[in-house]
Structure formats: C-alpha cells, structure tokens
Amino acid sequence: MYFDYANVLVFLAVGIGFVFFNMALGALVRPSLPTPEQKTPYECGEDPIGDAWVNFDIRYYTVALVYIVFGVEIAFLFPWAVVLKSAFADGRIGGMAFVEGVLFVGVLFLGLAYVWAKGDLDWVKSYSAKAYRPSPTPTPGFRAFPDPAAAPPVVTGPPAAVESSTRPAAPVGAGAAPSHGTPRS
C-alpha cells in the first residue's frame, strides 16, 4: 500500500540528485577565474553605492497584511460561489453554506474595520502631528523636570563668576597683551 508513495520518493531523489549532479559536473569543467569585481553589486558598470540589500519601507508590511484580508477572501469565496448554486439545488446544505459564507465575510469585514479604525489604511501616518495631551490624572511616580514645586536653584558666587564660566572674558584695552606669542612692536 505504501509502495504507491515510492513515486514521490523517486521523484524527490531524482530531483535533488539532478541538481547536485549538474553542479558537480559544472565544477569539473568550468573555468574559475574570480575577480574582485564579480563580488560587487551590479550598478550598470558604475561604482556601486551602498549595499545590494535595500530596506523596504515598513509601511509595505501593513499593506501586505491588509492584503491578506482580501486575498484570503477571494481564495475562499470563489470556490464557495461556484458550488453554492448546486448546494441550494441539493437542498440540504445550501442554507448552511450560505450562512457560513456570510459569517466568513463578516469576520473578514471585522478585520478590515479594525484596520480602518486604527488608521492603518492611511499611507501617511502622521502620529507626530497629533497634539500630545497629557493625562489629567498624574502618573504615580512622575515628577516634572524641572520641578515647578521645587525652590529655584541657588546660585553661589557673584553673577560675574557665572558669566565668566559661560563666556571667556576678552582682554579689555589696547595694552592687554595676549598670553601667547610676543607682542608686536
């Protein structure tokens, strides 16, 4: 009985063996003259810029996921639509097949509605444009910085010292010699 599946085994063995046989045959006769240019990406003979592996926009991922909703729908509804009429003519499972089809479409529609409400159908997702509105109830443990309730920082020393720390004082007056070099006569 299981001998019938020997066809599959032979098919697999021949298929895999064919590949390795030809690769081994090619390794015997082909010339191998590698050049460093053969390992570089092909850009019409120009100097390649960057890598050949290009990142795609992550938004295509959402599109591909949403496509599954419609792709699965098409893949299942076509055979369902083909046999539905004969199922009704049969008279036994027609009503149930119809109800199940409608349920299936309904579930997929729920998925679509979820994606739509979440805004994933928008190509331009401008999260940054939405105004950030902090929660009216304070988060436990959250402390604003700088803390508005705290006392203002105490500055020690004269204000001139603070200024001189931020900006080096320039020499004042024509007679002030620079610290480096010799003064010009």
């Binding site: 006769v29 053969q38 120009e46």
Partner: protein
C-alpha cells in the same frame, strides 16, 4: 580553475567531451545588452527579426553581466566609458568573450587622430576575441564575426591541455 580543466591528455574521450562542451558553449552565446554608439543600431538590427541572431543561439541579450557570455563592444569607447567597460567585463563570469564591433572599438576609427577622449581600440582595456570591420559594420558582418567567434570556441581546449595541436575536431564554416 575547474577540477579537470586543462588537466587531461588528448585522446578520443577528451576530444569528444571537449567537442560536446564546446558545442554547448558556442550554441548559447548570450550577449550583454550593451551599446555605445551607432554600431549598437546595427547590433539591434542583428537581433531583430530580419537577421535574427537567435539562429546562432546568441539572441538572448541579457541585461546583466552576470548572465552574459559575450560582450559586443558596439561603438566608440571614450575614456569615461572605458572604465565602465572594464568593470562590466570583469563582472561577467568565465568563459567570456568580447567582439569589438566597428572601427571605433577596433582602433579608434575616425577619432584616431583628433579624438582626444577616445580610447584607440577597446583591446587596450579588455581582451578582444573577434574584430568586426566597418563603420558601422553591416549586420551580416556582425553575424560573420559571431560565426568566427563560434569557430574559435569550437577549436578551444576545455579538458585537454592547451597548446596541443588544434583542429582535430575543427570543421570550418561552410563557404
């Protein structure tokens, strides 16, 4: 180098295998889609229906050097392009062949004397197998160049050691 390439002496087995490999190579020379000047128009005519380069198994113009066996340098090679020609040639896998098509690619052509930016022959950049004369050559001339290249491949030694007397299996093209 392949494990058996150019390793075996000449006997009836190696000559037959060489004949088979050479027949396979010369019957599927895939050129690269690569035109530099007006000779490329004639090259397109060769690839089109009337002259039909595909009769010789060379009609599959590949858009990448990775899949190409033959580079038809069709047109004027200036110094800016010679750099690219060299790189494209080196990106092709072996065995690879070059046809210099037309007077410019052969030796500079009409730009030989005053062409300050023209390479005086593409053989200063890449090794050329067949030169096709003409300015531009007729499509028939390019077809003859292709047949010359096929003769060259037909004579080449694959498993046999190079330098042995050629021509045991060489059948000249019918005249």
């Amino acid at each position: 180098m392949g494990l058996l390439e150019h390793r075996l002496d000449e006997n009836v087995l190696t000559t037959r295998i060489d004949w088979l490999i050479n027949w396979a190579r010369l019957s599927s020379i895939w050129p690269m889609t690569f035109g530099l000047a007006c000779c490329a128009i004639e090259m397109m005519a060769v690839g089109a229906a009337h002259h039909d380069m595909d009769r010789f198994g060379a009609g599959a113009f590949r858009a990448t050097p990775r899949q190409a066996d033959l580079m038809i340098v069709a047109g004027t090679v200036n110094f800016k392009m010679a750099e690219r020609v060299k790189r494209l040639y080196e990106q092709m896998p072996s065995p690879k062949y070059v046809i210099a098509m037309g007077a410019c690619a052969t030796g500079g052509g009409p730009y030989y004397k005053y062409g300050y930016n023209v390479v005086k022959g593409v053989d200063r950049v890449v090794p050329v197998d067949v030169y096709v004369a003409g300015c531009p050559p007729r499509p028939e001339a390019l077809l003859e160049g292709l047949m010359k290249l096929q003769d060259k491949i037909r004579r080449s030694a694959v498993l046999r050691k190079p330098g042995l007397p050629e021509g045991a299996l060489f059948v000249p093209a019918p005249s």
